[in-house]
Symmetry: C2
Subunit: 502 residues, 2 copies
């Protein structure tokens, strides 16, 4: 038995994953830990998969509502999707099997702003939470939990669930104790108070999650790594995008719009984001700080070389190499990395107050600056909006980053009209592709179109975009604020669906 | 000379509107007061119009950048548009002459979230502010100003402008002194602090606007009413919408999701909003409070009959009768009405903390819950997003209200895909038409579509909407999360443009 569970009352609840899974019933809403493949439960979902498959084999129904922090992994979302055991899923998913069931219409997916997900649960929008299944690093006396490699919505799930199942994962370094700052000052309106955080690294909470030990129905011991996704070095396009961003930041500092140490950085997940971090690491910028959702390998590099002074986040999202580096040198990161609940890491109040520089990817942008982050050709969900809306809306400055084409040039990332809108024209500051940067701040829609087409679109698609704008701008008198051709605005997507190319 | 100007230094700056307008130059950015037709400058714009027409007659260029709080009036926006003297306009407009020039492409319009407009000016997104032209009620010694019937962006314009022109309007009741709460605690990141407001009626500022008297280049005396728009009694559709909203709030209280005195109300402008207020006034609800942008006649009614305990706002938006009622009984409203800067009335931090119930109109919604508040048939701007995004995104609960059809039934307010998105599917809670109410909280896109079509669409359009969804849901396997037909999604708008009916 692991020495990670020192609470005598709770040691008595240690059981097998199968026995724990047997405490979850058809129709239950289940809140699991996990964010970007870190800190998700690693044993109970597989056991639950088996129970579901057995039940289905007996002709019984067994499906749950599955709530998480954000994305998990094949051994959580993946196995439950394989078992056809999920009826609803929120607030974010990136698992391919789960995505497929969502797009087949089998799973009802509620794609929510991450800063909204916990409070919407508290508001009663999602119904009762029956079970929480949360991975932790250790269980201390009195029901104090040392959180794992992500915090996500764990505080809310543990507070609100009728029953709690804990997974204690020995793979998570015991030294994670002290890396967390769990804020217990949230409340429901009309009882909310200001969140008194004015510095990204300020502690406003406690290092532990608290639970009512009476609610714990099972504890399962595991020793398994997080889903640590491989880390690719920046390709040519990503490097070009990074260069544009770093140049732009230099320009903003030179113009006096931002201090030399910039403002707190938020960086989305993926290779373009990692490339921008690498670009910052190679630049003259130093003593920066991050207030973000996810700490990727690129951010460890910046912490190591001094570009980044410190980082506040809700999760890690490391490669195997990155995870090993963190674990082996965990003491050097203590005090320089803080993990918070996602309602705090993404909170509109804090994002606006701190003046975040937000950097997120996109699937497509249109000529007027609307951004689609979620849907392929208007209908099929990719992942979800995640925290991009929390950060973009309230940022001091936001960037949306993308290569100018996808699918070997068959798809233009710049289109006449996006097929789905996640970030409106009112919310998008700067769009960046490998070809250049379009600063849209203070511009009217037509001025934005000129700049986006000229600076960001791939040269192959520029003539067709210009042709569209010219015809839209002249066809309808008295409709030139945001001129569109309704019969043609989505024709690029239709053409792609019919021919495989825009 | 008016007794409204008791500061001896500033009395010496009293001059004519013509002389004041002569201090504004071609190419200047001019920040004017005004919000919902209240508190805008009433003399200088007309004089500036004449100067512009003269200059144009001499073959000279004379155009300004025009920034405001929100909408003004024919004698401000209107006359400057008539003079073809505006190059850019932000952050909101509802003047028909100005709208026409925006839609002709003559005026570059930047349609911004109202909570963003002041900070984006401070961030440097809009360039230098040359002149502020601000209406006030009185000028006290030491450069203290008693604000007028709106606050809007006046604090920012007065702080940031190189030169200040004041209009002192004797029509504004002298008793407005004490109705304002001007917060001087804003700062630029990284120096921002929490805004320590936890009750809608809490004072966090001062009753006066402060200025540097040295910057005042002219003071003009006026005695003219605000643009007080006529107030229509609720029509049948508006009354039905109001009934649905009041019933829904009752249901939320009964379900324990909201206290009996509800949470602070925000109500958009217009007859549907007034109808909802009237519906609340006729209901059992009492002791409510408003945290909103605009105080319309309907809100005065609620303050008079005790439904509403108090209201925080940034502006009035009254009819002639309502303005007279307010002025004649001003002392009874003192302490029960507070006017704040729009960056405070609409602040994301406060809207989320207080847990606002937001109620706003829309132009069209689509079957998946995306809302268009600004554009007619995708291209022509109507007014602008105003504060609807500030409130909807951060609200505890938001309603979007609309009759189910427009133009005598030629236009359906519920369409397959909106032609412009201002509020995304991630941000819309409840849609209401005269036919019913669609509660979208916690629903997947397909579930939302079923509910919106069934509850909100006009019966004439339901079969065509169902037909669209059925075909979209079956045509493309693996694209059923938000199923759309790219070749047909905007065909209703195209049909309207071609035939005059959807």
């Amino acid at each position: 038995m692991s020495d990670r569970i020192t609470c005598p009352v709770l040691r008595a609840r240690i059981t097998s994953a199968q026995a724990a899974a047997a405490l979850i019933n058809d129709g239950d809403n289940v809140g699991i830990s996990g964010f970007t493949g870190a800190g998700y439960p690693k044993a109970v979902p597989a056991a639950l998969h088996d129970a579901m498959v057995d039940a289905h084999g007996r002709g019984e129904q067994f499906r749950i509502g599955l709530w998480s922090g954000a994305s998990t992994a094949p051994d959580a979302d993946g196995v439950l999707a394989e078992a056809h055991g999920v009826s609803t899923r929120l607030p974010y998913n990136s698992d391919p099997t789960m995505r497929s069931l969502i797009n087949l219409g089998e799973v009802d997916y509620v794609d929510a702003h991450l800063s909204h997900s916990a409070q919407h649960m508290w508001f009663g929008f999602y119904g009762n939470l029956d079970v929480a299944v949360v991975e932790v690093t250790a269980v201390l006396p009195g029901g104090l939990l040392v959180p794992s490699s992500s915090v996500g919505n764990n505080k809310t799930w543990l507070d609100q669930a009728d029953r709690i199942i804990l997974e204690v994962n020995s793979w998570q370094p015991r030294g994670l104790e002290g890396f967390h700052d769990i804020y217990y000052g949230t409340a429901l309106p009309p009882h909310r108070r200001p969140i008194e955080l004015t510095d990204p690294m300020q502690r406003i909470g406690e290092p532990y999650l608290r639970i009512d030990p009476e609610k714990v129905v099972a504890i399962v011991e595991t020793d398994r790594p997080d889903r640590n996704a491989p880390f690719s070095p920046p390709d040519e396009n990503s490097a070009a995008i990074a260069e544009h961003v770093v140049d732009f930041l230099r320009h903003e500092v030179a113009a006096g719009r931002m201090p030399p140490e910039l403002l707190p950085l938020q960086s989305g997940v993926g290779n373009v984001a990692n490339a921008v971090l690498a670009g910052l690491g190679d630049s003259e910028f130093t003593d920066l700080v991050a207030f973000t959702e996810v700490i990727q390998d690129g951010m460890l590099d910046l912490l190591d070389n001094g570009t980044l002074r410190a980082a506040s986040s809700t999760s890690f999202g490391l490669s195997d190499v990155g995870a090993r580096r963190f674990i082996d040198n965990i003491d050097t990161y203590k005090g320089r990395i803080l993990l918070r609940s996602e309602e705090i890491s993404n909170h509109p109040e804090l994002v606006r107050r701190l003046g975040i520089i937000a950097m997120n990817g996109l699937l497509e942008a249109d000529i007027y600056g609307n951004v689609n982050s979620t849907h392929v050709m208007g209908s099929a969900i990719m992942n979800g909006i995640g925290g991009s809306g929390d950060f973009a809306r309230n940022a001091f400055l936001n960037f949306f980053l993308t290569p100018s084409t996808a699918k070997d040039g068959a798809i233009s990332a710049i289109v006449p009209m996006v097929s789905h809108v996640d970030h409106t024209e009112h919310d998008v500051h700067v769009i960046v592709t490998e070809h250049g940067i379009a600063d849209l701040r203070g511009l009217s829609p037509r001025a934005r179109a000129e700049r986006i087409i000229e600076r960001c679109a791939h040269p192959t698609f520029r003539p067709a975009l210009l042709d569209y704008t010219q015809r839209a701008w002249t066809e309808r008198p008295r409709a030139r604020h945001t001129p569109h051709l309704m019969g043609e605005a989505l024709s690029w997507h239709q053409r792609y669906l019919e021919t495989g190319s825009m």
